[in-house]
């Protein structure tokens, strides 16, 4: 559980290489872990962005948004997480299908990478479409390039690649060639928009959902999402689901839910910092 290496990928986004041999041994694309960084910290779910069975390591990417994730990103090489539970979730099915488009928004690249890598290894043509707010927020570009046959970029402010949303790239790609499947990971509104495009073109789409979680083992039901009109537990049944069936509106409302209190915690930690 020791941090072997640490790298800042973009402002507020940190990549950790963690010693976790048991987890590395069982990890598959689509799996995630839950960690606690200190005694009274939250249980934070993070996708396994990469794993190395020989070295016994896993790679995690954490964006500092709330109090706990900001504190995690302050941790240094040589520090250890207090608890690390995993691998959790159902692995993402990897098949040889033909051409697969991997769409990532923002931090979504991290969870998308192991899937792109496995799909590429399985012999698919992988076309990756990566969107970010601005150029400096683009992460893991080299890694994605290495496992993609082609990568296209978009930024909201036009500082790199296509000026606009990543859905525009998807629309274009789908009108250019025949695609067997789309995999999309990113913020909920981005995934919802991507699913809309996929539906227009009648291409199957898999999304990876990041519901709020506590235990990550199917015990609390806090991560429930509605898929095809049925309640599913994201931590056990997912996190990957058939995008066409996901109720994104509900997911969005549920995610906003703890926002206010998170702000309070952050506010307080900033006050404490100021007081030091």
């Amino acid at each position: 559980m020791e941090i072997i290496d640490k790298k800042e990928l973009a402002p507020g986004i940190v990549q950790f290489l963690v010693d976790a041999p048991l987890i590395a041994k069982k990890a598959e694309p689509g799996h995630f872990i839950i960690l606690r960084h200190k005694e009274n910290g939250e249980r934070i779910p993070l996708t396994i962005a990469d794993f190395d069975r020989e070295q016994g390591t896993i790679t995690l990417v954490c964006q500092g948004i709330g109090k706990s994730t900001k504190e995690i990103n302050q941790m240094k090489k040589g520090d250890a997480f207090l608890d690390l539970l995993g691998p959790l979730g159902t692995p993402y099915p990897i098949n040889k299908l033909g051409t697969v488009i991997c769409v990532a928004g923002g931090l979504g690249v991290a969870p998308l990478y192991p899937k792109a890598k496995a799909l590429h290894q399985a012999g698919n043509r992988v076309l990756s479409l990566i969107g970010a707010q601005r150029k400096e927020m683009l992460i893991m570009t080299e890694e994605m390039a290495a496992v993609s046959d082609e990568v296209r970029y978009s930024t909201d402010d036009g500082s790199f690649g296509h000026h606009g949303f990543v859905t525009a790239l998807l629309q274009q790609a789908l009108s250019e060639e025949k695609v067997s499947e789309i995999v999309a990971v990113g913020p909920v509104p981005m995934m919802a928009a991507t699913v809309k495009v996929a539906k227009e073109f009648n291409v199957p789409i898999v999304v990876s959902l990041n519901a709020l979680m506590i235990d990550g083992t199917g015990m609390c039901g806090g991560c429930r999402v509605t898929v095809g009109g049925k309640t599913k537990f994201c931590c056990v049944d997912g996190p990957a689901f058939d995008g066409a069936l996901v109720n994104f509106e509900e997911l969005l409302l549920r995610q906003r839910y703890y926002h206010e209190q998170e702000k309070e915690a952050c506010h307080r930690c900033r006050l404490e910092e100021a007081g030091k």
């Binding site: 207090l82 235990d215 509900e250 209190q261 915690a265």
Partner: protein
């Protein structure tokens, strides 16, 4: 014969005043004083054929321990209890004695039964204060080989303790970051202080049991992995941790929690100490808890302590059918929880941000008895009522925790999805793998889980001895 016991009144457990306690998380029941324990122990008839023992799932020699206590020997009394029950401080607090030992106590026929649970608790608390148990020494390691116990609820804790006493090197695997199972994440501080769970777990560690937290069997390691790591037998006590929902419209609105989530946030993650602890909980002014078991009472009383103004319990049957312990129902009422019985939720309505706003219910009446022998609730036509709510907790029961079951080939389940075992040995369909507690019976009681852990430990001992 009634002269001694029957004549005197049963001692009443001192409690925190409801006016004060409904807003704090400190323990509600305060325990007998020395004088009370003496008086109550004196009241016991020390029956030759004690009925109470028949009601005790682990057959504690009740009259014998009470006699020792009456004779002023609490240490010996505790030792007597511990011959049969390794977690008396916990059982004395949470067992439904009114349905078990105290229900059968002969004094209950004409008057009031002995307060057996309170006396058990008294002995255990005395021992904890005097640190009598610190003596237990680590067992010779690997003397008889290694056994893995999966899940650290009462079933797992008991199996681990007994196997360790029998001379096995035991490793306890727990998926959460803290051991105890429901004792840790479910039952609240005001009913079972976590310091007691810590103390009991600490005793296990002193005995030489190794605890591996944050290890999910079925994912991090499989049962096969355990055998290839030289564990010779495995006990599964993974509990009934899968929350059931009602399946009514609006159930995924915000502020609708499963009791598991609600209680886990508060107990395991200590959200009641937010922001000192980082995990938040949002509690509204008007809270409705659906269900009437212990889990529902715990949720309702926790909601009050988090600051809710009004807490209601909604239950579709009547008072007689409420499964919670009597004491907890009374406690909830004293603290101001309002019960709406024969009331069945139909749907939840939300506001534009997706937060729950209204609970629509239907009134019920009791019809013919159903398969469970309880009278079936039947809807009364045109009897809809609505309650304004801003938090809803669903506490209608749990199912088997699925992860280990899914990840273990060859493990037979019954039609409800629980693990099938040989009733004598608790061995599953996989040789050397045993199971007990809620994962076999469905949600039951702490003591039943402990009884299963005990039985399995004995069977594992026999099984391993016969293999030699």
């Amino acid at each position: 014969m009634q002269a001694r016991g029957g004549g005197k009144m049963r001692q009443q457990m001192p409690k925190q005043d409801p006016e004060i306690r409904w807003r704090n998380f400190d323990e509600v029941a305060l325990g007998f004083t020395v004088e009370q324990a003496q008086a109550e122990a004196d009241r016991c008839l020390k029956c030759k054929k004690p009925m109470c023992v028949q009601g005790c799932p682990v057959e504690i020699e009740i009259p014998n321990f009470i006699a020792l206590l009456a004779a002023g020997q609490p240490e010996a009394a505790l030792a007597k209890i511990k011959e049969k029950n390794s977690l008396p401080a916990i059982c004395g607090r949470v067992c439904p004695q009114e349905n078990q030992c105290e229900k059968l106590c002969v004094l209950g026929k004409k008057g009031e039964p002995i307060a057996i649970g309170a006396l058990e608790r008294y002995c255990a608390d005395w021992g904890r204060k005097e640190e009598t148990e610190a003596k237990s020494t680590p067992q010779e390691t690997a003397a008889k080989g290694k056994v893995a116990v999966v899940g650290s609820g009462p079933a797992g804790l008991t199996a681990a303790a007994d196997l360790s006493l029998m001379g096995y090197k035991v490793t306890l695997f727990e998926s959460l970051h803290a051991p105890g199972g429901v004792l840790r994440y479910g039952i609240p501080e005001f009913r079972l202080p976590k310091a007691i769970v810590d103390y009991e777990v600490g005793n296990l560690v002193k005995m030489g049991v190794e605890i591996k937290k944050s290890c999910l069997i079925g994912q991090t390691l499989t049962i096969d992995d355990l055998f290839s790591q030289d564990y010779q037998a495995v006990f599964i006590g993974t509990g009934a941790g899968l929350p059931h929902f009602l399946g009514i419209p609006g159930e995924n609105l915000n502020s609708v929690y499963s009791a598991n989530e609600f209680l886990t946030r508060v107990n395991l993650m200590k959200a009641y100490l937010f922001p000192e602890y980082d995990t938040p909980i949002r509690i509204g002014k008007r809270v409705a808890v659906i269900g009437a078991g212990n889990v529902a009472m715990d949720s309702a009383r926790t909601a009050l302590r988090l600051g809710a103004e009004k807490v209601i319990i909604v239950y579709r049957r009547s008072r007689e059918e409420m499964p919670a312990r009597l004491e907890e129902i009374e406690n909830a009422e004293e603290e101001g929880v309002v019960f709406h019985l024969l009331t069945n939720p139909l749907q939840l309505l939300g506001d534009e941000s997706g937060n729950v706003k209204t609970m629509v219910c239907q009134q019920m009446s009791l019809g013919e008895p159903d398969a469970s022998g309880r009278r079936r609730p039947v809807p009364i036509l045109d009897s809809e009522v609505s309650f304004p709510v801003d938090t809803v907790v669903v506490a209608i029961g749990q199912g088997p925790n699925p992860i280990l079951l899914k990840g273990t080939a060859g493990l037979n389940l019954n039609k409800w999805g629980y693990i099938e075992v040989d009733p004598e040995t608790l061995m599953t369909s996989i040789p050397g793998v045993f199971a007990g507690g809620d994962i076999v019976t469905g949600a039951a009681t702490v003591i039943a889980a402990m009884g299963a852990g005990k039985k399995a430990a004995r069977a594992i001992g026999n099984y391993l001895a016969s293999k030699k």
